[in-house]
Symmetry: C2
Subunit: 291 residues, 2 copies
Protein backbone atom coordinates (compact mmCIF):
# COMPACT_ATOMS: atom_id res chain seq x y z
CA UNK A 1 0.00 0.00 0.00
CA UNK A 2 1.33 3.43 -1.02
CA UNK A 3 -0.01 6.25 1.10
CA UNK A 4 0.96 9.19 -1.13
CA UNK A 5 2.03 8.63 -4.71
CA UNK A 6 3.52 11.51 -6.66
CA UNK A 7 3.45 11.29 -10.45
CA UNK A 8 5.68 13.82 -12.18
CA UNK A 9 4.45 14.03 -15.75
CA UNK A 10 0.77 13.06 -15.89
CA UNK A 11 0.60 11.66 -19.42
CA UNK A 12 -0.20 8.24 -20.82
CA UNK A 13 2.51 6.45 -18.86
CA UNK A 14 2.19 8.23 -15.50
CA UNK A 15 -1.60 8.52 -15.73
CA UNK A 16 -2.09 4.85 -16.57
CA UNK A 17 0.07 3.83 -13.61
CA UNK A 18 -2.01 6.01 -11.27
CA UNK A 19 -5.25 4.58 -12.65
CA UNK A 20 -4.03 0.98 -12.36
CA UNK A 21 -2.87 1.47 -8.75
CA UNK A 22 -6.17 3.11 -7.79
CA UNK A 23 -8.08 0.25 -9.38
CA UNK A 24 -5.92 -2.25 -7.48
CA UNK A 25 -6.65 -0.34 -4.27
CA UNK A 26 -2.92 0.12 -3.73
CA UNK A 27 -2.79 3.88 -3.28
CA UNK A 28 -4.57 6.30 -0.95
CA UNK A 29 -3.73 9.65 -2.53
CA UNK A 30 -2.20 10.65 -5.87
CA UNK A 31 -0.42 13.95 -6.39
CA UNK A 32 0.28 15.01 -9.96
CA UNK A 33 2.89 17.43 -11.24
CA UNK A 34 3.20 18.99 -14.69
CA UNK A 35 3.63 22.20 -16.63
CA UNK A 36 0.28 22.26 -18.43
CA UNK A 37 -2.49 23.59 -16.16
CA UNK A 38 -5.23 22.36 -18.50
CA UNK A 39 -3.84 18.84 -18.52
CA UNK A 40 -3.59 18.77 -14.71
CA UNK A 41 -7.18 20.06 -14.34
CA UNK A 42 -8.34 17.35 -16.73
CA UNK A 43 -6.38 14.72 -14.74
CA UNK A 44 -8.24 15.79 -11.58
CA UNK A 45 -11.60 15.75 -13.43
CA UNK A 46 -10.87 12.24 -14.72
CA UNK A 47 -10.00 11.09 -11.21
CA UNK A 48 -6.45 10.19 -12.21
CA UNK A 49 -4.92 12.48 -9.56
CA UNK A 50 -6.26 14.12 -6.39
CA UNK A 51 -4.09 17.21 -6.27
CA UNK A 52 -1.90 19.09 -8.77
CA UNK A 53 1.34 21.06 -8.60
CA UNK A 54 3.49 22.84 -11.16
CA UNK A 55 6.63 22.78 -9.03
CA UNK A 56 8.15 19.30 -8.66
CA UNK A 57 9.90 20.33 -5.43
CA UNK A 58 6.52 21.11 -3.89
CA UNK A 59 4.79 18.09 -5.41
CA UNK A 60 7.08 15.53 -3.77
CA UNK A 61 6.73 16.92 -0.23
CA UNK A 62 5.33 14.10 1.88
CA UNK A 63 5.23 11.60 -0.99
CA UNK A 64 6.11 7.98 -0.21
CA UNK A 65 6.60 6.95 -3.83
CA UNK A 66 7.70 9.36 -6.56
CA UNK A 67 7.41 8.30 -10.20
CA UNK A 68 9.29 10.50 -12.65
CA UNK A 69 7.39 10.00 -15.91
CA UNK A 70 8.75 12.84 -18.01
CA UNK A 71 10.82 12.62 -21.21
CA UNK A 72 14.39 11.37 -20.89
CA UNK A 73 15.74 14.82 -21.66
CA UNK A 74 13.94 16.31 -18.65
CA UNK A 75 14.58 13.53 -16.13
CA UNK A 76 17.93 14.82 -14.86
CA UNK A 77 16.59 18.29 -14.15
CA UNK A 78 13.53 16.90 -12.37
CA UNK A 79 15.75 14.77 -10.11
CA UNK A 80 17.85 17.86 -9.30
CA UNK A 81 14.76 19.84 -8.39
CA UNK A 82 13.06 17.22 -6.21
CA UNK A 83 16.20 16.06 -4.37
CA UNK A 84 16.10 18.67 -1.56
CA UNK A 85 12.43 18.14 -0.67
CA UNK A 86 12.15 14.33 -0.79
CA UNK A 87 11.05 12.62 2.44
CA UNK A 88 13.94 10.70 4.06
CA UNK A 89 12.30 7.36 3.26
CA UNK A 90 10.77 8.31 -0.10
CA UNK A 91 11.25 5.84 -2.94
CA UNK A 92 11.91 7.34 -6.37
CA UNK A 93 11.60 5.55 -9.69
CA UNK A 94 11.39 6.52 -13.35
CA UNK A 95 10.05 5.17 -16.64
CA UNK A 96 12.75 6.17 -19.13
CA UNK A 97 13.50 4.12 -22.26
CA UNK A 98 17.26 4.27 -21.61
CA UNK A 99 18.77 3.53 -18.24
CA UNK A 100 22.53 4.25 -18.12
CA UNK A 101 21.84 7.96 -18.73
CA UNK A 102 19.16 8.06 -16.01
CA UNK A 103 21.46 6.34 -13.52
CA UNK A 104 24.20 8.86 -14.30
CA UNK A 105 21.73 11.72 -13.81
CA UNK A 106 20.51 10.21 -10.53
CA UNK A 107 24.08 9.90 -9.23
CA UNK A 108 24.60 13.58 -9.93
CA UNK A 109 21.25 14.75 -8.56
CA UNK A 110 20.63 12.63 -5.48
CA UNK A 111 22.53 12.49 -2.19
CA UNK A 112 24.49 9.24 -1.65
CA UNK A 113 22.07 8.46 1.18
CA UNK A 114 19.06 8.79 -1.16
CA UNK A 115 20.51 6.75 -4.04
CA UNK A 116 19.68 3.29 -2.62
CA UNK A 117 16.02 4.28 -2.78
CA UNK A 118 16.19 5.36 -6.44
CA UNK A 119 15.03 2.39 -8.55
CA UNK A 120 15.58 2.84 -12.31
CA UNK A 121 12.65 1.40 -14.27
CA UNK A 122 11.25 1.04 -17.76
CA UNK A 123 7.71 -0.16 -18.50
CA UNK A 124 7.75 -1.50 -22.07
CA UNK A 125 4.40 -0.14 -23.05
CA UNK A 126 3.06 2.74 -25.01
CA UNK A 127 0.40 3.49 -27.52
CA UNK A 128 -0.32 5.56 -30.57
CA UNK A 129 -2.19 7.98 -28.33
CA UNK A 130 -0.61 10.09 -25.65
CA UNK A 131 -1.70 12.37 -22.81
CA UNK A 132 -3.80 11.82 -19.72
CA UNK A 133 -6.97 11.37 -21.80
CA UNK A 134 -5.50 8.13 -23.14
CA UNK A 135 -4.44 6.88 -19.69
CA UNK A 136 -6.03 3.58 -18.75
CA UNK A 137 -5.69 1.09 -15.92
CA UNK A 138 -5.10 -1.82 -18.34
CA UNK A 139 -2.08 -0.38 -20.19
CA UNK A 140 0.50 -2.50 -18.38
CA UNK A 141 -1.38 -5.77 -18.22
CA UNK A 142 0.77 -8.58 -19.68
CA UNK A 143 3.51 -6.07 -20.52
CA UNK A 144 7.04 -6.19 -19.24
CA UNK A 145 8.61 -3.73 -16.83
CA UNK A 146 12.40 -3.87 -16.69
CA UNK A 147 14.11 -2.60 -13.55
CA UNK A 148 17.87 -1.97 -13.60
CA UNK A 149 18.83 -1.91 -9.91
CA UNK A 150 21.87 -0.01 -8.66
CA UNK A 151 24.67 -1.90 -6.90
CA UNK A 152 23.77 -0.04 -3.71
CA UNK A 153 20.03 -0.62 -4.18
CA UNK A 154 17.90 -0.95 -1.06
CA UNK A 155 16.21 -4.34 -1.21
CA UNK A 156 13.09 -2.90 0.41
CA UNK A 157 12.86 -0.05 -2.12
CA UNK A 158 13.32 -2.51 -4.98
CA UNK A 159 10.61 -4.78 -3.54
CA UNK A 160 8.21 -1.85 -3.28
CA UNK A 161 8.69 -0.86 -6.92
CA UNK A 162 8.34 -4.49 -8.01
CA UNK A 163 5.10 -4.78 -6.03
CA UNK A 164 3.79 -1.53 -7.48
CA UNK A 165 4.29 -2.66 -11.08
CA UNK A 166 3.03 -6.18 -10.41
CA UNK A 167 -0.19 -4.64 -9.09
CA UNK A 168 -0.77 -3.16 -12.57
CA UNK A 169 -0.68 -6.63 -14.13
CA UNK A 170 2.84 -6.24 -15.51
CA UNK A 171 5.58 -8.84 -15.47
CA UNK A 172 8.62 -7.34 -13.73
CA UNK A 173 12.18 -8.38 -14.41
CA UNK A 174 15.59 -7.05 -13.41
CA UNK A 175 18.49 -6.52 -15.77
CA UNK A 176 21.85 -4.81 -15.88
CA UNK A 177 21.40 -1.23 -17.16
CA UNK A 178 24.00 -1.64 -19.94
CA UNK A 179 22.31 -4.79 -21.19
CA UNK A 180 18.92 -3.06 -20.99
CA UNK A 181 20.20 -0.24 -23.16
CA UNK A 182 21.61 -2.71 -25.70
CA UNK A 183 18.42 -4.77 -25.79
CA UNK A 184 16.22 -1.70 -26.23
CA UNK A 185 18.57 -0.23 -28.84
CA UNK A 186 18.21 -3.49 -30.76
CA UNK A 187 14.49 -4.13 -30.47
CA UNK A 188 13.06 -0.63 -30.31
CA UNK A 189 15.43 2.28 -30.91
CA UNK A 190 17.07 0.86 -34.04
CA UNK A 191 13.72 -0.04 -35.69
CA UNK A 192 12.52 3.52 -35.06
CA UNK A 193 15.64 5.00 -36.64
CA UNK A 194 15.28 2.64 -39.63
CA UNK A 195 11.62 3.54 -40.10
CA UNK A 196 12.42 7.26 -40.00
CA UNK A 197 15.34 6.75 -42.43
CA UNK A 198 13.14 4.67 -44.74
CA UNK A 199 10.52 7.40 -45.08
CA UNK A 200 13.16 10.10 -45.54
CA UNK A 201 14.86 7.96 -48.19
CA UNK A 202 11.61 7.91 -50.20
CA UNK A 203 11.17 11.67 -49.78
CA UNK A 204 14.66 12.25 -51.17
CA UNK A 205 14.08 10.19 -54.31
CA UNK A 206 14.22 12.00 -57.60
CA UNK A 207 11.27 10.27 -59.29
CA UNK A 208 8.53 11.83 -61.45
CA UNK A 209 5.86 10.47 -59.08
CA UNK A 210 5.44 10.46 -55.32
CA UNK A 211 6.44 6.87 -54.68
CA UNK A 212 4.56 6.67 -51.39
CA UNK A 213 1.31 6.89 -53.35
CA UNK A 214 2.03 3.34 -54.47
CA UNK A 215 2.80 1.87 -51.07
CA UNK A 216 0.77 -1.08 -49.83
CA UNK A 217 0.12 -2.78 -46.51
CA UNK A 218 3.66 -4.03 -45.96
CA UNK A 219 5.00 -0.49 -46.14
CA UNK A 220 2.30 0.80 -43.82
CA UNK A 221 3.16 -1.69 -41.07
CA UNK A 222 6.88 -1.27 -41.63
CA UNK A 223 6.73 2.49 -41.17
CA UNK A 224 4.08 2.66 -38.44
CA UNK A 225 6.72 3.64 -35.88
CA UNK A 226 7.87 6.52 -38.13
CA UNK A 227 4.68 8.22 -36.92
CA UNK A 228 6.10 8.26 -33.37
CA UNK A 229 6.64 11.51 -31.48
CA UNK A 230 9.82 13.21 -32.85
CA UNK A 231 10.97 15.11 -29.70
CA UNK A 232 10.51 11.99 -27.60
CA UNK A 233 12.54 9.89 -30.02
CA UNK A 234 15.20 12.59 -30.38
CA UNK A 235 15.59 12.36 -26.59
CA UNK A 236 15.70 8.57 -26.59
CA UNK A 237 18.27 8.50 -29.40
CA UNK A 238 20.50 11.08 -27.71
CA UNK A 239 20.22 9.44 -24.29
CA UNK A 240 21.03 5.99 -25.60
CA UNK A 241 23.46 7.17 -28.27
CA UNK A 242 26.38 4.79 -27.57
CA UNK A 243 24.24 1.63 -27.65
CA UNK A 244 22.15 2.91 -30.56
CA UNK A 245 25.20 3.86 -32.63
CA UNK A 246 26.69 0.43 -32.02
CA UNK A 247 23.40 -1.15 -33.13
CA UNK A 248 23.24 1.03 -36.27
CA UNK A 249 26.74 -0.25 -37.05
CA UNK A 250 25.61 -3.87 -36.63
CA UNK A 251 22.64 -3.20 -38.87
CA UNK A 252 24.81 -1.59 -41.54
CA UNK A 253 26.88 -4.78 -41.53
CA UNK A 254 23.78 -6.99 -41.90
CA UNK A 255 22.39 -4.84 -44.69
CA UNK A 256 25.81 -4.77 -46.36
CA UNK A 257 25.86 -8.57 -46.40
CA UNK A 258 22.51 -8.68 -48.20
CA UNK A 259 23.65 -5.95 -50.60
CA UNK A 260 26.81 -7.90 -51.44
CA UNK A 261 24.83 -11.11 -52.00
CA UNK A 262 22.55 -9.19 -54.34
CA UNK A 263 25.46 -7.51 -56.14
CA UNK A 264 26.92 -10.98 -56.70
CA UNK A 265 23.46 -12.25 -57.77
CA UNK A 266 24.06 -15.00 -55.18
CA UNK A 267 20.67 -16.73 -55.05
CA UNK A 268 21.74 -19.26 -52.43
CA UNK A 269 23.12 -16.66 -50.01
CA UNK A 270 20.03 -14.47 -50.43
CA UNK A 271 17.58 -17.27 -49.81
CA UNK A 272 19.57 -18.51 -46.80
CA UNK A 273 19.63 -15.03 -45.28
CA UNK A 274 15.89 -14.50 -45.88
CA UNK A 275 15.05 -17.97 -44.50
CA UNK A 276 17.14 -17.42 -41.40
CA UNK A 277 15.27 -14.19 -40.67
CA UNK A 278 11.87 -15.71 -41.41
CA UNK A 279 12.47 -18.69 -39.12
CA UNK A 280 13.60 -16.46 -36.25
CA UNK A 281 10.74 -14.04 -36.73
CA UNK A 282 8.14 -16.83 -36.91
CA UNK A 283 9.65 -18.38 -33.75
CA UNK A 284 9.48 -15.02 -32.01
CA UNK A 285 5.82 -14.62 -32.98
CA UNK A 286 4.91 -18.08 -31.74
CA UNK A 287 6.61 -17.37 -28.39
CA UNK A 288 5.24 -13.86 -28.09
CA UNK A 289 2.24 -13.36 -25.89
CA UNK A 290 2.37 -9.59 -25.74
CA UNK A 291 0.37 -6.89 -27.42
Amino acid sequence: MIDTLCIIGVGLIGGSLARALREAGLVRRVVGCGRDAGNLARAIELGVIDEAFHDPAQAVVGADMVVVAVTLGATGEILQRIAPSLKADAIVTDVGSAKACVIEAARQALAPSALPRFVPGHPIAGAEKSGVEAANAQLYQRHRVILTPLPEQSAAALASVVAMWEATGAEVLCMDATLHDQVLAATSHLPHVLAYAMVNCLLDLDTPVSVMDYAAGGFRDFTRIASSNPPMWRDIALNNAPALLAMIGHFETSLGQLRQALEARDAVALEQAFSRAKTARDDYLSRSIRI
Copy 2:
Protein backbone atom coordinates in the same frame (compact mmCIF):
# COMPACT_ATOMS: atom_id res chain seq x y z
CA MET B 1 -16.27 -11.48 -71.64
CA ILE B 2 -13.41 -14.01 -71.76
CA ASP B 3 -14.38 -17.32 -73.30
CA THR B 4 -11.42 -19.42 -72.10
CA LEU B 5 -9.09 -18.14 -69.39
CA CYS B 6 -5.87 -20.02 -68.71
CA ILE B 7 -4.24 -19.48 -65.32
CA ILE B 8 -0.67 -20.75 -65.15
CA GLY B 9 0.13 -21.07 -61.44
CA VAL B 10 -3.09 -21.62 -59.50
CA GLY B 11 -2.12 -20.06 -56.17
CA LEU B 12 -3.41 -17.11 -54.20
CA ILE B 13 -2.90 -14.59 -57.00
CA GLY B 14 -4.03 -16.68 -59.98
CA GLY B 15 -6.80 -18.41 -58.04
CA SER B 16 -8.22 -15.15 -56.68
CA LEU B 17 -8.30 -13.66 -60.17
CA ALA B 18 -10.21 -16.69 -61.48
CA ARG B 19 -12.67 -16.52 -58.60
CA ALA B 20 -13.26 -12.79 -59.04
CA LEU B 21 -13.85 -13.12 -62.79
CA ARG B 22 -16.27 -15.99 -62.26
CA GLU B 23 -18.14 -13.98 -59.66
CA ALA B 24 -18.30 -11.04 -62.07
CA GLY B 25 -19.64 -13.38 -64.75
CA LEU B 26 -16.79 -12.38 -67.02
CA VAL B 27 -15.43 -15.82 -67.89
CA ARG B 28 -17.01 -18.95 -69.37
CA ARG B 29 -14.29 -21.53 -68.73
CA VAL B 30 -11.12 -21.54 -66.63
CA VAL B 31 -8.18 -23.82 -67.36
CA GLY B 32 -5.53 -24.17 -64.67
CA CYS B 33 -1.93 -25.24 -65.04
CA GLY B 34 0.55 -26.20 -62.33
CA ARG B 35 3.05 -28.80 -61.18
CA ASP B 36 1.27 -29.98 -58.05
CA ALA B 37 -1.47 -32.50 -58.88
CA GLY B 38 -3.03 -32.23 -55.41
CA ASN B 39 -3.27 -28.46 -55.66
CA LEU B 40 -4.89 -28.65 -59.11
CA ALA B 41 -7.41 -31.27 -57.91
CA ARG B 42 -8.25 -29.02 -54.97
CA ALA B 43 -8.65 -26.04 -57.35
CA ILE B 44 -11.20 -28.03 -59.34
CA GLU B 45 -13.01 -29.15 -56.16
CA LEU B 46 -13.18 -25.54 -54.97
CA GLY B 47 -14.60 -24.48 -58.34
CA VAL B 48 -11.65 -22.16 -59.02
CA ILE B 49 -10.81 -23.91 -62.31
CA ASP B 50 -12.73 -26.24 -64.64
CA GLU B 51 -9.86 -28.23 -66.11
CA ALA B 52 -6.24 -28.87 -65.13
CA PHE B 53 -2.98 -29.41 -67.01
CA HIS B 54 0.61 -29.96 -65.98
CA ASP B 55 2.07 -28.87 -69.30
CA PRO B 56 1.76 -25.12 -69.97
CA ALA B 57 2.02 -25.71 -73.74
CA GLN B 58 -1.09 -27.88 -73.60
CA ALA B 59 -2.91 -25.65 -71.13
CA VAL B 60 -2.86 -22.57 -73.36
CA VAL B 61 -4.28 -24.30 -76.43
CA GLY B 62 -7.49 -22.48 -77.34
CA ALA B 63 -7.17 -19.95 -74.49
CA ASP B 64 -8.24 -16.36 -75.20
CA MET B 65 -6.55 -14.91 -72.14
CA VAL B 66 -3.46 -16.42 -70.53
CA VAL B 67 -2.38 -15.20 -67.09
CA VAL B 68 1.13 -16.25 -66.05
CA ALA B 69 0.95 -16.22 -62.25
CA VAL B 70 4.13 -18.09 -61.36
CA THR B 71 7.19 -16.77 -59.49
CA LEU B 72 9.38 -14.26 -61.30
CA GLY B 73 12.16 -16.82 -61.64
CA ALA B 74 9.89 -19.18 -63.60
CA THR B 75 8.13 -16.62 -65.82
CA GLY B 76 10.68 -16.61 -68.66
CA GLU B 77 10.64 -20.38 -69.01
CA ILE B 78 6.82 -20.48 -68.99
CA LEU B 79 6.69 -17.88 -71.78
CA GLN B 80 9.18 -19.96 -73.82
CA ARG B 81 7.06 -23.06 -73.35
CA ILE B 82 3.68 -21.54 -74.20
CA ALA B 83 4.84 -19.42 -77.16
CA PRO B 84 4.45 -22.14 -79.86
CA SER B 85 0.91 -23.16 -78.86
CA LEU B 86 -0.74 -19.79 -78.22
CA LYS B 87 -3.79 -18.95 -80.34
CA ALA B 88 -3.01 -16.23 -82.91
CA ASP B 89 -5.23 -13.74 -81.09
CA ALA B 90 -4.48 -14.87 -77.52
CA ILE B 91 -3.73 -12.16 -75.00
CA VAL B 92 -0.99 -12.95 -72.46
CA THR B 93 -0.36 -11.10 -69.20
CA ASP B 94 1.58 -11.71 -66.00
CA VAL B 95 1.53 -10.69 -62.34
CA GLY B 96 5.25 -10.30 -61.56
CA SER B 97 6.51 -7.85 -58.93
CA ALA B 98 9.23 -6.56 -61.27
CA LYS B 99 8.57 -5.64 -64.88
CA ALA B 100 11.76 -4.84 -66.81
CA CYS B 101 12.95 -8.43 -66.34
CA VAL B 102 9.59 -9.84 -67.49
CA ILE B 103 9.57 -7.61 -70.56
CA GLU B 104 13.08 -8.77 -71.45
CA ALA B 105 11.99 -12.40 -71.01
CA ALA B 106 8.90 -11.81 -73.16
CA ARG B 107 11.00 -10.26 -75.94
CA GLN B 108 13.16 -13.35 -75.96
CA ALA B 109 10.31 -15.86 -75.73
CA LEU B 110 7.55 -14.46 -77.90
CA ALA B 111 7.46 -13.90 -81.66
CA PRO B 112 7.48 -10.22 -82.70
CA SER B 113 3.93 -10.71 -83.97
CA ALA B 114 2.76 -11.98 -80.55
CA LEU B 115 4.49 -9.27 -78.47
CA PRO B 116 1.83 -6.55 -78.96
CA ARG B 117 -0.62 -8.88 -77.19
CA PHE B 118 1.65 -9.45 -74.19
CA VAL B 119 0.58 -6.99 -71.48
CA PRO B 120 2.98 -6.83 -68.49
CA GLY B 121 1.01 -6.46 -65.25
CA HIS B 122 1.40 -6.35 -61.49
CA PRO B 123 -1.50 -6.56 -59.05
CA ILE B 124 -0.31 -4.95 -55.80
CA ALA B 125 -1.97 -7.44 -53.52
CA GLY B 126 -0.99 -10.41 -51.48
CA ALA B 127 -1.64 -11.88 -48.11
CA GLU B 128 0.02 -13.75 -45.29
CA LYS B 129 -1.54 -16.93 -46.66
CA SER B 130 -0.74 -18.49 -49.99
CA GLY B 131 -2.07 -21.28 -52.20
CA VAL B 132 -5.38 -21.90 -53.86
CA GLU B 133 -7.09 -22.53 -50.51
CA ALA B 134 -6.56 -18.85 -49.67
CA ALA B 135 -7.83 -17.62 -53.05
CA ASN B 136 -10.82 -15.33 -52.77
CA ALA B 137 -12.84 -13.18 -55.14
CA GLN B 138 -12.36 -10.06 -53.00
CA LEU B 139 -8.54 -10.01 -52.95
CA TYR B 140 -8.17 -7.24 -55.53
CA GLN B 141 -11.00 -4.98 -54.42
CA ARG B 142 -9.72 -1.45 -53.86
CA HIS B 143 -6.18 -2.59 -54.67
CA ARG B 144 -4.04 -1.24 -57.44
CA VAL B 145 -2.96 -3.10 -60.55
CA ILE B 146 -0.09 -1.51 -62.43
CA LEU B 147 0.29 -2.30 -66.13
CA THR B 148 3.53 -1.40 -67.91
CA PRO B 149 2.58 -1.45 -71.62
CA LEU B 150 5.12 -2.10 -74.34
CA PRO B 151 5.78 0.56 -76.97
CA GLU B 152 4.28 -1.79 -79.56
CA GLN B 153 1.31 -2.70 -77.32
CA SER B 154 -1.98 -3.53 -79.03
CA ALA B 155 -4.57 -1.07 -77.74
CA ALA B 156 -7.24 -3.77 -77.84
CA ALA B 157 -5.12 -6.22 -75.82
CA LEU B 158 -4.36 -3.50 -73.27
CA ALA B 159 -8.06 -2.63 -73.03
CA SER B 160 -8.96 -6.29 -72.44
CA VAL B 161 -6.46 -6.65 -69.59
CA VAL B 162 -7.63 -3.35 -68.06
CA ALA B 163 -11.26 -4.54 -68.25
CA MET B 164 -10.33 -7.91 -66.70
CA TRP B 165 -8.69 -6.32 -63.68
CA GLU B 166 -11.36 -3.66 -63.28
CA ALA B 167 -13.93 -6.45 -63.08
CA THR B 168 -12.17 -7.70 -59.93
CA GLY B 169 -12.72 -4.33 -58.24
CA ALA B 170 -9.13 -3.18 -58.72
CA GLU B 171 -7.98 0.26 -59.77
CA VAL B 172 -5.82 -0.10 -62.88
CA LEU B 173 -3.08 2.32 -63.86
CA CYS B 174 -0.34 2.33 -66.47
CA MET B 175 3.28 3.22 -65.83
CA ASP B 176 6.66 2.97 -67.48
CA ALA B 177 8.30 -0.35 -66.54
CA THR B 178 11.50 1.29 -65.28
CA LEU B 179 9.53 3.65 -63.06
CA HIS B 180 7.42 0.72 -61.82
CA ASP B 181 10.55 -1.15 -60.82
CA GLN B 182 11.90 1.91 -59.00
CA VAL B 183 8.61 2.56 -57.21
CA LEU B 184 8.28 -1.05 -56.11
CA ALA B 185 11.94 -1.23 -55.07
CA ALA B 186 11.28 1.80 -52.89
CA THR B 187 7.94 0.91 -51.33
CA SER B 188 8.10 -2.87 -51.17
CA HIS B 189 11.39 -4.55 -52.05
CA LEU B 190 13.60 -2.29 -49.91
CA PRO B 191 11.36 -2.61 -46.81
CA HIS B 192 11.50 -6.40 -47.17
CA VAL B 193 15.30 -6.37 -47.39
CA LEU B 194 15.50 -4.06 -44.36
CA ALA B 195 13.17 -6.26 -42.32
CA TYR B 196 15.20 -9.36 -43.17
CA ALA B 197 18.45 -7.50 -42.36
CA MET B 198 16.98 -6.22 -39.08
CA VAL B 199 16.12 -9.71 -37.82
CA ASN B 200 19.48 -11.11 -38.93
CA CYS B 201 21.24 -8.21 -37.19
CA LEU B 202 19.59 -9.23 -33.90
CA LEU B 203 20.50 -12.88 -34.44
CA ASP B 204 24.15 -11.90 -34.93
CA LEU B 205 24.37 -9.93 -31.68
CA ASP B 206 26.71 -11.20 -29.03
CA THR B 207 24.50 -10.59 -25.99
CA PRO B 208 23.94 -12.84 -22.97
CA VAL B 209 20.17 -12.88 -23.65
CA SER B 210 18.09 -13.43 -26.76
CA VAL B 211 17.19 -9.82 -27.43
CA MET B 212 14.08 -10.70 -29.41
CA ASP B 213 12.50 -11.99 -26.20
CA TYR B 214 12.22 -8.33 -25.18
CA ALA B 215 10.67 -7.04 -28.39
CA ALA B 216 7.32 -5.26 -28.22
CA GLY B 217 4.59 -4.29 -30.65
CA GLY B 218 6.66 -1.83 -32.67
CA PHE B 219 9.18 -4.52 -33.50
CA ARG B 220 6.45 -6.99 -34.41
CA ASP B 221 4.87 -4.65 -36.97
CA PHE B 222 8.25 -3.54 -38.27
CA THR B 223 9.37 -7.08 -38.98
CA ARG B 224 6.05 -8.55 -40.17
CA ILE B 225 7.34 -8.68 -43.74
CA ALA B 226 10.41 -10.64 -42.59
CA SER B 227 7.98 -13.55 -42.35
CA SER B 228 7.47 -13.40 -46.12
CA ASN B 229 8.28 -16.34 -48.38
CA PRO B 230 12.10 -16.54 -48.84
CA PRO B 231 12.28 -18.15 -52.33
CA MET B 232 9.70 -15.66 -53.65
CA TRP B 233 11.64 -12.72 -52.26
CA ARG B 234 14.95 -14.12 -53.47
CA ASP B 235 13.41 -14.14 -56.96
CA ILE B 236 12.02 -10.62 -56.61
CA ALA B 237 15.34 -9.28 -55.33
CA LEU B 238 17.32 -10.94 -58.14
CA ASN B 239 14.87 -9.89 -60.83
CA ASN B 240 14.77 -6.29 -59.71
CA ALA B 241 18.42 -6.16 -58.64
CA PRO B 242 19.48 -2.91 -60.37
CA ALA B 243 16.59 -0.84 -58.97
CA LEU B 244 16.79 -2.53 -55.57
CA LEU B 245 20.56 -2.02 -55.29
CA ALA B 246 20.12 1.65 -56.16
CA MET B 247 17.42 1.92 -53.49
CA ILE B 248 19.60 0.19 -50.88
CA GLY B 249 22.26 2.79 -51.70
CA HIS B 250 19.76 5.63 -51.18
CA PHE B 251 18.71 4.10 -47.87
CA GLU B 252 22.31 3.73 -46.71
CA THR B 253 22.71 7.45 -47.38
CA SER B 254 19.56 8.31 -45.36
CA LEU B 255 20.60 6.08 -42.49
CA GLY B 256 24.12 7.53 -42.65
CA GLN B 257 22.71 11.03 -42.23
CA LEU B 258 20.85 10.01 -39.08
CA ARG B 259 23.93 8.20 -37.79
CA GLN B 260 26.07 11.29 -38.33
CA ALA B 261 23.53 13.52 -36.59
CA LEU B 262 23.56 11.12 -33.66
CA GLU B 263 27.36 10.89 -33.62
CA ALA B 264 27.43 14.69 -33.46
CA ARG B 265 24.69 14.64 -30.78
CA ASP B 266 22.88 17.11 -33.05
CA ALA B 267 19.46 17.36 -31.40
CA VAL B 268 18.09 19.82 -33.96
CA ALA B 269 19.07 17.74 -36.98
CA LEU B 270 17.68 14.57 -35.39
CA GLU B 271 14.35 16.13 -34.49
CA GLN B 272 14.04 17.72 -37.94
CA ALA B 273 14.72 14.39 -39.66
CA PHE B 274 12.26 12.53 -37.43
CA SER B 275 9.59 15.22 -37.89
CA ARG B 276 10.01 15.22 -41.64
CA ALA B 277 9.43 11.47 -41.73
CA LYS B 278 6.49 11.60 -39.34
CA THR B 279 4.73 14.33 -41.32
CA ALA B 280 5.14 12.45 -44.60
CA ARG B 281 4.04 9.16 -43.08
CA ASP B 282 0.99 10.73 -41.42
CA ASP B 283 0.08 12.40 -44.74
CA TYR B 284 0.44 9.08 -46.53
CA LEU B 285 -1.84 7.40 -44.00
CA SER B 286 -4.49 10.08 -44.29
CA ARG B 287 -4.45 9.75 -48.10
CA SER B 288 -4.30 5.98 -48.08
CA ILE B 289 -7.52 4.11 -48.61
CA ARG B 290 -6.00 0.74 -49.22
CA ILE B 291 -5.67 -2.36 -47.09
